[in-house]
């Protein structure tokens, strides 16, 4: 690269400054619209531009921050579907917007602050990694309500919400147990956080309730969404003898790989039946609509309170849908029965005796797993093969 700028540098600086000045002219002439330029004097708390208070009849502005693209057909797609349904349900009273592909960590804070600036008073952050940024923005904006999905830290104006995906995993496991011929199941795992490990365990428990001798193999992709890797991981599991696959990743690649190989798989987060018509057994979906509508209602009628919400089949947040015709009628009936049991509380998935991989008893006979224990699960149950990627 030629570098004759050594002598041209002053001219370069001059022309660049000129260009920048030209660009900032419009900014200078604009009146600050609701974003009063904060003074430089240090003044706790943070000098934040005040979000304009919504007038009584102005629609409630609700914003959603998504970690992935709305077209992922999985996690983010499910959130966005619920957002649209909520907006329709509260026609006119609510105006929603979203930002997709917001990276977890540092950049998220800027996006969320901007949402506050834009007048949103109810903000949903749909992934764990937004926890710290949301907490910071929440502490600076006490009048705005924040909802954080899959997190564990709350504040006066920040509550957490999550869905009992493990219930869907268990139900899928029951179907898997009844369909497997090789007695080997495979799970394509995303990131080894408790939720995913809990899902792998619940899937295995469900299958074992039908066929006690099944084994589950696990391969980790390391990301929530990476279709080519997911496909390769699925292929590796199939090559190792698994004939029914489950996933905790967000794309339909696993299902498609099973379809290509003539084996079975499940849809995850959303109904994926169209991606693998022969392979698809059922989809364990998350329906965020009931919760989003409740949260919006709370914000609209002023009854919003902080807390930690964990909804499952009982509250309509989790379901196993689109069961294939290949699934025997007896299994379908059992699934219905289990759903009823979950709804009326007569059935508990995590009820002892349950042993971990090493044979240690983690739940004694008839002992029920408390939420706290479930939230921090860090072990594989007996029947799951492989090592937890915990480095320990």
């Amino acid at each position: 690269m030629p570098r004759f700028l050594d002598r041209a540098t002053p001219a370069c600086i001059a022309s660049s400054l000129l260009a920048l000045a030209f660009m900032t002219l419009p900014a200078c002439s604009k009146k600050p619209s609701g974003d009063a330029a904060p003074s430089a004097t240090p003044a706790p708390p943070a000098v934040e531009p005040k979000a304009t208070e919504p007038k009584a009849d102005a629609p409630l502005k609700v914003a959603f921050a998504y970690v992935g693209p709305v077209g992922d057909a999985g996690w983010t797609f499910a959130h966005d579907k619920a957002r649209k349904e909520a907006e329709a349900a509260f026609a006119g009273k609510v105006k929603t917007s979203f930002v997709e592909n917001v990276p977890e960590a540092a950049d998220a804070e800027r996006v969320i602050r901007d949402m506050v600036d834009q007048g949103n008073t109810l903000i949903f952050g749909t992934t764990f990694g937004y926890m710290e940024p949301m907490l910071k923005v929440a502490s600076d904006n006490p009048k705005v309500h924040f909802e954080h999905a899959t997190g564990y830290k709350t504040a006066a104006n920040l509550r957490t919400y999550d869905s009992r995906t493990y219930e869907g995993a268990y139900l899928a496991g029951v179907v898997a147990g009844s369909m497997t011929k090789s007695k080997t199941l495979g799970v394509v795992g995303s990131i080894p956080i408790p939720e995913v490990i809990r899902n792998i365990d619940s899937f295995t428990l469900g299958a074992q309730s039908v066929t006690p001798e099944i084994k589950t193999k696990v391969v980790w992709v390391g990301k929530w969404f990476d279709p080519p890797k997911e496909g390769e991981a699925a292929q590796a599991l199939l090559d190792q003898g698994a004939d029914v696959l489950m996933q905790n990743t967000d794309s339909s690649a696993v299902l498609q790989t099973a379809e290509k190989a003539g084996k079975f798989a499940f849809g995850w987060d959303s109904d994926m039946s169209k991606f693998g018509p022969h392979a698809h057994l059922a989809s364990a979906i998350i329906n965020w609509a009931p919760y989003y509508q409740k949260a919006i209602k709370d914000a609209l009628d002023g009854s919003w309170k902080t807390g930690q919400v964990w909804w499952g089949v009982k509250d309509g947040a989790i379901d196993l849908v689109s069961l294939s015709d290949k699934v025997p009628a007896a299994t379908k009936a059992k699934i219905e029965e289990l759903k009823k049991g979950l709804k009326d509380g007569s059935f508990t998935i995590w009820k002892g005796p349950i042993k971990d991989q090493a044979g240690k008893e983690v739940l004694k006979v008839d002992e029920k797993g408390e939420d706290k224990m479930l939230l921090g699960i860090n072990f594989y149950v007996k029947g799951v093969e492989g090592k937890l990627p915990s480095g320990k």
Binding site: M1, P69, G71, D72, A73, F77, G186, P192, K217, V218, V219, W220, G222, F225, D226, P227, P228, K229, E230, G231, E232, A233, Q235, A236, L237, L238, D239, Q240, G241, S251, S252, A253, Q256, T257, E259, K260, A261, G262, K274, F275, G276, P277, E385, G386, K387, P389, G391
Partner: protein, 293 residues
């Protein structure tokens, strides 16, 4: 089927896009042009192929469309570096970055779609492109080392000045090589989105273009060695997944890093002898050519 046979079979599937891309890059580099934009080309071809497959339900057409799209961008790249003598490395990088952004942009509405997949599996029942890749390897080998046209191409890569003195249109030959090579790279990219994982997602090529670049060096610019390298890399990729499934007592992250560590190792082993590299590498690789007229 025994697990090993299945593993080998999956390795071949995994390695085929790498092979196709490496073959294309070999054509490029044999003429003296290094194209760091392989990743961007593969992404562009992937989204084009996917879009066409969705619209026409015709796999072959989709693969050709992907190859064509990559060829168009390669022609543009070739124009910049061959006719305008832009720096090959910088321009290639620009192509990579641009291809990344453009494919993501164009592909926005395609993330929800999926293609119906045909079933292929087992050691002897692969997609026809897998077999085609092997044939292309043999064909390219023959072309480079046993045909006059191939000799001219290699001459252009070794000493463009001499080739020009002999009356060959060096720049045209290079441009043709860049376009043809780019088409093969595009074919690889389209293969990923139309056959391997019939979906579209941003960045789905995930570094395969860069690995193909490494493979051309590993192969010392010979097609047959590229085949070996591509399948070997595919093997390591699938092996580490198998090892995970078996519960091998190694950190998952180490296993995931294995293919990349292997690439470094291979590069080191291959490059250690500077004379070997010098003997095999096209002498004018990466250098701009001024016809002087």
């Amino acid at each position: 089927m025994s697990e090993l046979v299945l593993l080998l079979s999956s390795s071949i599937d995994s390695g085929t896009p790498l092979l196709l891309a490496a073959l294309g890059l070999i054509i490029n580099e044999r003429s003296g042009v290094i194209n760091l934009g392989a990743e961007g080309l593969m992404l562009i071809a992937a989204i084009t192929g996917f879009a066409v497959a969705l619209a026409t339900k015709n796999d072959a057409l989709a693969l050709l469309a992907g190859a064509a799209a990559a060829a168009v961008f390669s022609a543009f790249f070739g124009f910049l570096v061959i006719w305008l003598n832009a720096n090959q490395y910088a321009t290639g990088l620009a192509l990579s970055l641009f291809g990344s952004g453009l494919s993501a942009f164009v592909g926005i509405h395609y993330s929800q779609e999926s293609l119906t997949v045909a079933g292929h599996h087992g050691l002897f029942s692969h997609h026809y492109l897998v077999y085609l890749a092997v044939l292309l390897t043999l064909g390219l080998s023959w072309f480079l080392f046993r045909s006059k046209a191939g000799l001219v191409l290699r001459a252009v890569g070794e000493s463009p000045e001499s080739a020009q003195a002999l009356g060959y249109p060096v720049r045209l030959i290079r441009w043709a090589a860049v376009i043809a090579g780019g088409a093969l790279v595009g074919l690889a990219g389209a293969f990923v989105s139309v056959v391997s994982t019939p979906l579209w997602v941003e960045g789905m090529i995930a570094g395969k273009g860069w690995i193909a670049l490494a493979l051309t060096t590993f192969a010392t610019w010979r097609p047959a060695r590229a085949l070996l390298g591509a399948y070997l890399f595919g093997f390591i990729t699938m092996l580490q997944l198998h090892l995970q499934g078996r519960g091998v007592n190694l950190p998952v992250e180490l296993l995931t890093a294995l293919p990349y560590l292997a690439t470094i190792l291979v590069l080191v082993l291959i490059s250690r002898n500077p004379r070997w590299i010098a003997a095999n590498m096209p002498t004018s690789l990466g250098k701009p050519f001024f016809p002087g007229a």
